[in-house]
């Protein structure tokens, strides 16, 4: 009697568990298929885009008129950006693919410069044609490999989920067709000689690179970096100041320095290896309720820069969060704002002491006897290049860096259109538009 009930219950439980397990399994399968399809979509789109990309590169080589080349090159620009974005949706972040990504980025930058920013609507020069031709050949090779891989994926039912698993277990030797396919593509791009570009594209590439030759002073060792930090912080000696050389991966060689301030505790600095300049300073002490306002804090920030021997007298941006005020400051010499020599100062609003400094731009770009070129345009002439729909509120003269990292002498027009504020930079030398910024906050 008893055993009968028990066995009935057991059987029922088994049936229920089995049914539940089956349903779980089906749901999991459905999710896996969904995830797989996302990867498949990105992969096949990538292949499509590479195919179109080399078509358009070919077309731009075939025509000689500027107008048609521009049409194709604009397509090249769009498709190469799209291809990069497709790669970003694939689980390739755990394997080296940077050479291929760099290649796509170069294609994108080059086509943008030639098609969109071409000065004077000239047809392609011989150099440009050659670069384009190399890009065409290389992208053709890439495309060939990619479409071979694509056929394999379709005919052999290869799954990206397996590729992802294979990539995650790098301790074992993998023989996943997808992974190997992408690895061989990367290998091929890596083996090719770097493309040669004119100065404009090279400039785009090195936009955020920092050129150590621009730093003043002699190389310092760890003791020198500690001494520079101690001097900066106003400490009597380097006791408790620890400087550690950063590894080789940094954009410029530098030391990470920690020090203890008597009242604030641990502070962190970055000191350049050449010249011992402070580029980054952080003091993370707890900040109490604000007792001074942003206006007073701004004055403190300017006084601080002066006390550290850093030039900077014009606040160009102010904002506030968590009881600190943050000020972006540039020097203004003879009424010209020098944006490349920008510093950022953080002031604690409780005591008004400075708890942070970013001076990387300043360290790399400051030059005490900077020459301001003569303006060839008057303010009124430059103003004509700004849309009449913008009501201009303020005009300054400024030196800014354009997108190729070149310094340009400009008129800065600050104006309102539709309740939004814009900063428009018109070159004072040739009247070209150097940049537009929409200001938020």
């Amino acid at each position: 009697m008893f055993s009968r009930i028990t066995s009935f219950v057991v059987v029922l439980a088994l049936v229920v568990a089995g049914f539940w397990g089956y349903r779980e399994h089906r749901e999991k399968q459905a999710l896996l298929v969904k995830a797989e399809n996302q990867y498949q979509r990105a992969f096949h789109t990538l292949s499509d885009n590479m195919n179109l990309l080399q078509d358009e590169l070919g077309k731009s080589l075939a025509v000689n008129s500027k107008l048609q080349a521009t049409n194709s090159l604009t397509e090249v620009w769009r498709l190469s950006a799209q291809a990069r974005s497709d790669v970003g949706e694939l689980p390739l972040s755990l394997m080296p693919f940077n050479n291929t990504m760099n290649f796509l980025n170069d294609v994108s930058n080059f086509s943008y410069q030639v098609a969109v920013h071409n000065e004077g609507n000239k047809p392609l020069t011989d150099d440009q044609w050659n670069t384009l031709n190399q890009m065409y050949t290389r992208s053709k090779n890439l495309e060939k490999q990619l479409s071979a891989l694509q056929s394999a994926v379709i005919s052999k039912n290869l799954r990206w989920m397996d590729a992802e698993l294979a990539l995650a277990q790098t301790d074992k030797k993998t023989d996943n067709v997808i992974v190997d396919g992408f690895k061989s593509m990367e290998k091929q791009v890596k083996s090719e000689k770097p493309l040669t570009f004119g100065p404009t594209v090279t400039g785009l590439r090195t936009r955020n690179a920092t050129d150590e030759n621009k730093l003043t002073g002699n190389p310092v060792d760890a003791d020198g970096a500690a001494q520079a930090a101690a001097n900066f912080l106003g400490l009597p000696n380097t006791q408790g100041v620890v400087a550690q050389k950063n590894g080789s991966g940094t954009p410029y060689s530098s030391y990470s320095v920690t020090a203890k301030l008597p009242q604030d505790g641990q502070v962190y600095l970055t000191v350049t290896a050449k010249g011992g300049h402070i580029t980054n300073y952080m003091d993370n002490r707890a900040v109490g309720d604000p007792r001074i306002d942003l206006d007073q804090a701004g004055t403190k920030a300017l006084a601080y820069l002066k006390s550290k021997g850093i030039t900077g007298n014009t606040i160009i941006r102010t904002d506030q969060y968590d009881n600190v005020g943050v000020f972006e400051i540039v020097p203004s010499t003879n009424g010209v704002l020098i944006y490349p020599e920008r510093t950022t100062v953080k002031v604690a609003l409780d005591t008004g002491s400075v708890v942070g400094l970013v001076a990387q731009d300043y360290a790399f770009n400051q030059s005490p006897n900077r020459r301001i070129p003569a303006a060839k345009l008057t303010e009124a002439q430059a103003r004509k290049f700004v849309s009449p729909k913008v009501s201009i509120q303020e005009t300054n003269r400024a030196i800014i860096q354009d997108e190729l990292n070149r310094e340009q002498f400009c008129y800065e027009f600050v104006g309102i259109m539709d309740n939004d504020t814009y900063k428009i930079y018109i070159s004072a030398v040739d009247g070209k538009e150097v940049g537009v910024e929409k200001l938020k906050m």
Partner: protein, 259 residues
């Protein structure tokens, strides 16, 4: 029985109506009598936030100088309104609201009463400033929602790490923006498959704490304790051999930062 109820209902209605009539003008009057300006003694400049900025915007709007939202954040719109006001009233045009401008403005906007105008926005109880304003990083504007995504990622990836370590992780995400190997937008970087463990295991959806948000704010304004890193990993748990081959920069807390 039924009649009784009806009578009661009528009585209640009449009473309520009377109360309303009696109270309403009273409310308005008391509002007008007791409304004091929410200005404080501090000088307001572009970048200031708070109840006094609401007051400033409310008053400028009342007299037609300001057309934007009353959000308690002194932005460019407020700045131009203040300058216009200073210009029209023959004052020094500096866009700052110090004692002189404040006094002039209170005098010029006599009759301004946020309660009478039914503008709940000016209530002292909702004085806190609305959402974080957008910020800009390297000349590009980053939306408030993208900043929230970064805070989520920072919190999911590095809660329990020292504060500098958290700023460093926010900086790594921002350093990727300009790097050719990564997508050129914040969501693309954060949701790139396999890029962040916190995204893969769902920890990114934990609500970030104030520290993580502060770390993102610092990184957005240029503080980079990672010294330009674009990768980091936890040596105790990293499974990828490839990540060890990247040139290393430094170690902060449990993470090694590399290029």
């Amino acid at each position: 029985m039924r009649k009784k109820w009806r009578l009661l209902a009528a009585a209640v209605t009449v009473a309520t109506a009377m109360a309303c009539v009696a109270i309403e003008p009273n409310l308005e009057r008391s509002g007008a009598n007791t409304y004091q300006s929410a200005f404080t003694t501090r000088t307001l400049v572009k970048g200031s936030t708070g109840t006094d900025v609401r007051e400033l915007q409310g008053r400028l709007k009342y007299i037609g100088y300001y057309k934007g939202k009353i959000d308690g954040a002194f932005g460019w719109g407020t700045y131009w309104a203040v300058r216009n006001f200073q210009y029209k009233f023959g004052m020094k045009i500096d866009g700052k609201v110090g004692p002189a401008t404040r006094t002039k403005l209170v005098a010029a906007s006599r009759g301004y009463n946020p309660y009478a105008q039914g503008r709940a926005a000016a209530s002292k109880h909702t004085a806190s400033v609305s959402s974080t304003p957008t910020a800009s990083y390297g000349g590009r504007n980053v939306s408030a929602n993208d900043m929230k995504l970064i805070s989520n990622a920072v919190y999911g990836e590095s809660r329990g790490e020292p504060y500098v370590g958290q700023v460093a992780i926010a900086a790594v995400i921002l350093n990727r923006l300009e790097n050719p190997n990564f997508p050129h937008n914040i969501p693309g970087i954060i949701f790139q498959p396999g890029a962040f463990t916190a995204v893969a295991d769902g920890q990114i959806w934990l609500s970030p704490n104030a520290t993580a948000k502060k770390a993102v704010n610092d990184a957005m304004r240029g503080w980079d304790p990672s010294s330009g890193a674009i990768y980091y990993f936890n040596p105790a748990t990293a499974t990828s051999k490839w990540i060890w081959s990247r040139p290393q920069i430094k170690r902060i807390g449990r993470h090694i930062f590399c290029r």
